[in-house]
Symmetry: C2
């Protein structure tokens, strides 16, 4: 008998164990962890700095900046007052729970109350890896198109809040929020949805008020 | 001694063998294969139909539509006169050479002269897998931002032609083609770059004329 090793299942099982550990780490320390996901250029960093600027007075923030390479976003985020750890995934297309735990530990000993993990820009792989976060927050940007839930169903299935960004460009890109949401609902996901524009400020208040409640 | 298996290296070595087979398959049949890559919503399908509409009179076309799920793009493309094979990657975030070979064989016996593989929308993983194509064509859309070569360097390193799409929105998104290109050149890539807008037609002629030469 030649032993057969199902490597992917192995990796996933390992990830689940680490996700449970991340979950315990956060619970024990009263830390709220947000897993922020979206395509390259969807506006993850802009939303992140918007959150820091508006909730930073009431809460201390940490940010785990996952990037295949570079520290462009980490520098931007640090300028908005958060404690930042740059995580280079060395080519990996997503963050997993083990990497997240490493990042959280790098924020010790003065742990912030809320940590936002800015995942790698990708609508596929990050959806497959539960990092043990309290909130899976995803951004879809208007220029990507309102049909994306049809093409990247897992991301729109596992997420717990949908921000639709760059709403000021909706007329240019013929983006229909209702059409987009009907695709999301067809996947059985009833998550709240916040269409907004960081540029014009439209819709930001509603999202920030909601988030304030969630992290309280 | 416990044997250690480097699974990723194994997969990559296997992919190289299949890529060589794809290359031979295309060469033997005089077929030109284009690997079209870019983020979700970058405009891959729009560029593809633009190519079909303008080069379709002189060449027969086939399209391999890689999608995690759904057949939205396949139906769009079929309406533009290409022979289409829908490839469901079942959650995989990229096409590899073995899957590409399967797709090409599904186009037989009446093979077209040019086959375009529309890869999964993703700036990370598809860059790691050589599918044996004659041309690696990538799209970056203006709304994604001109800093993307800094954050997804492998894609901008391996690609052989860069199309910058949705140029009509450059003023809105403060996208600077020269700044973007300087990042690309810093990676040591001298590939041609075509800023264009399928919507306004700006820049399309230059790209299509270039492509006509390449596939001739």
């Amino acid at each position: 008998m030649i032993p057969v090793l199902d490597v992917k299942a192995g990796l996933e099982a390992e990830n689940e164990i680490y996700a449970e550990e991340v979950h315990r780490f956060c619970k024990d320390r009263g830390l709220f962890l947000i897993n922020l996901m979206g395509s390259p250029g969807a506006g993850k960093t802009s939303l992140l700095t918007e959150i820091l600027d508006h909730l930073g007075a009431d809460h201390s923030f940490g940010v785990l900046e996952a990037d295949v390479d570079s520290d462009v976003d980490a520098r931007t985020v640090a300028a908005h007052g958060a404690k930042v750890v740059q995580l280079h995934t060395n080519g990996s297309c997503h963050m997993d729970a083990r990497m997240t735990l490493e990042g959280l530990k790098a924020l010790e000993p003065d742990l912030p109350q809320i940590v936002i993990l800015e995942n790698v820009g990708n609508l596929v792989c990050p959806a497959e890896f539960d990092v043990g976060a309290n909130l899976k927050l995803m951004i879809l940007s208007v220029p990507e198109g309102d049909d994306k839930p049809l093409k990247y169903p897992l991301m729109f299935t596992v997420s717990e809040c949908l921000v639709i960004s760059k709403m000021d460009t909706a007329p240019i890109f013929d983006f229909d929020v209702d059409r987009c949401l009907s695709h999301v609902r067809a996947l059985g996901n009833q998550m709240p949805c916040f269409p907004l524009s960081v540029k014009t400020g439209e819709g930001s208040d509603e999202f920030l008020a909601w988030l304030k409640e969630v992290v309280a």
